[in-house]
């Protein structure tokens, strides 16, 4: 039987953004299950802190400085990771772009920033890591977007715009990768970028919200979900299916 205590034993994982509460929980969870993790952070202090916590569990894990707004920086990040890891089998895209401005208040600069952070960064990492995964017939890609794609929130059009494209990209990549055993799934997260709690939802939840998110990432990264691909999972405590009355 599968070893459920070490679901990712011996695997190499990449998390593009380990800096926010969610990304941090994901990195720790993957490391706890035996994966060697490479993750990007914007603040080296956070990187060191996470590394300190996971160094016992996976000593070879490391972080790199990465701003998703910098497209050359992402290329650099992918290159370095590929040098260090023999084969990356888990890729977690956790973009964080969020600008709370209405359509009228916003400017072109905002568009460029958000599209780079939330869209292009995903495309770039896919380009870098999908090929080797396909060649080796093994891989799981998890793209985290926002549940505002289905339930828009007023005053935040750009989050919806930039995250909305991730679903389509996920399904196309999953279609392409299906026969090569590369699985691609999307998580529509109810935890908005930078937050550590879900937006208000009907479900009474005990325990940490970011842990719950990390558990779903673990499920999708591991072989537990070996027949699941091209899907979008909503993690929002049931808010998506609730009619507001």
């Amino acid at each position: 039987m599968r070893n459920y205590a070490k679901l990712l034993e011996g695997k190499y994982a990449v998390v593009t953004n380990g800096g926010d509460p969610c990304g941090c929980a994901i990195v720790k969870k993957l490391a706890m299950h035996g994966a060697t993790v490479a993750f990007g952070v914007r603040d080296p202090e956070i990187g060191e802190k996470i590394l300190g916590e996971i160094s016992d569990l996976s000593p070879e894990s490391f972080y790199l400085m990465l701003s998703l707004a910098d497209s050359e920086g992402i290329e650099e990040f992918c290159r370095k990771v590929k040098e260090c890891f023999p084969l990356t089998t888990v890729l977690v895209n956790n973009p964080y772009g969020d600008i709370k401005r209405t359509i009228i208040e916003s400017c072109e600069e905002d568009d460029r920033y958000l599209l780079q952070v939330n869209q292009r960064s995903v495309m770039q990492t896919l380009r870098a890591f999908y090929g080797p995964m396909r060649d080796n017939r093994c891989g799981s890609i998890i793209n985290i977007s926002s549940n505002t794609v289905f339930k828009p929130v007023l005053g935040n059009p750009f989050l919806t715009l930039s995250m909305g494209t991730i679903g389509g990209l996920t399904r196309v990549t999953a279609f392409e990768g299906g026969e090569f055993y590369v699985r691609v799934n999307e998580i529509l997260s109810g935890i908005q970028p930078g937050h550590s709690e879900l937006s208000p939802c009907p479900l009474k939840i005990e325990g940490s919200h970011v842990e719950g998110m990390a558990d779903l990432v673990l499920f999708l990264a591991s072989d537990m979900s070996s027949y699941i691909t091209g899907q979008s999972f909503t993690v929002d405590g049931g808010a998506r299916r609730q009619l507001f009355a």
């Binding site: 007023l154 937006s199 299916r241 009619l243 507001f244 009355a245």
Partner: protein, 243 residues
């Protein structure tokens, strides 16, 4: 296409034609030139709506019978086909709804609700679809609650019926589209379920009827297995301004 008379000369069967939505659909179809037959349970009410329909189009008629019994449904359909000669459009608008969660809703009520909503839709479709296949054309429009895709507390039975009708629509259209029989679904918020929606106010029966007209006419001839929510964008609504 004559946009004043979109359904000129076509024969339509409207089940549940006494209810506010079914009635509005029947009248709108008649105004657009269709020969309409309404089917429902209450004889007196059916007679009233037939009078109204005949003021618009002499060829309209109506029949009363039990909509929960398979044999009675076959009989009603035979009457309707005899009156119309054929069937081009079937609107399943019959339905009754009771709220309640698993604990408060009685099993018998739930079974009755499935009979009213789901089984009647399946049975009417079964009875009418052979005529549509013979004609190599036909439009089926199922009208149900918008709880098919989004939920509220205390609506388990309604949601089950609505979800079933929606899934039925999708599958049945796959089977018969080779005969050019289309099926589509309209969902709308039921009376008494008030929600805060981006478009304020509740939809009128006319709003649902207009959608039913669009699905019945040639304008939508390339749309199959589709769901149209006539609910002011309610299920897309996450937060109020400033939240």
């Amino acid at each position: 296409m004559d946009y004043q008379r979109l359904l000129a000369g076509r024969s339509a069967i409207v089940t549940g034609g006494v209810g506010s939505v079914g009635r509005t659909v029947a009248l709108l179809y008649a105004r657009h030139g269709a020969n309409v037959v309404v089917l429902d349970e209450d004889e007196v009410e059916v007679e009233k709506i037939v009078q109204e329909l005949r003021d618009i189009n002499q060829k309209c008629s109506g029949f009363a019978g039990n909509l929960r019994d398979p044999e009675s449904i076959v009989q009603l359909c035979n009457h309707a086909i005899n009156a119309l000669g054929t069937a081009d459009i079937l609107v399943n608008a019959a339905g009754t709804y009771l709220s309640g969660d698993a604990e408060t809703l009685e099993e018998d009520d739930f079974i009755a609700m499935i009979d009213w909503n789901v089984n009647s839709t399946i049975r009417f479709t079964k009875a009418i679809i052979p005529y549509m296949c013979d004609n190599r054309q036909g439009d089926i429009i199922n009208i149900t609650s918008d709880l098919a895709t989004a939920s509220l507390p205390g609506t388990a039975g309604i949601a089950a019926c609505a979800g079933a009708v929606l899934a039925f629509t999708r599958s049945v259209t796959m089977d018969y589209i080779r005969y050019r029989v289309r099926a589509n679904c309209i969902v709308y918020p039921l009376d008494g379920i008030e929600g805060r929606r981006p478009l304020t106010g509740a939809p009128a029966p006319e709003d649902v009827a207009n959608a039913a007209l669009w699905y019945a006419c040639k304008m939508s001839r390339f749309i199959i297995g589709d769901m149209l929510p006539v609910n002011g964008g309610m299920d897309y609504f996450a937060g109020m301004r400033g939240e």
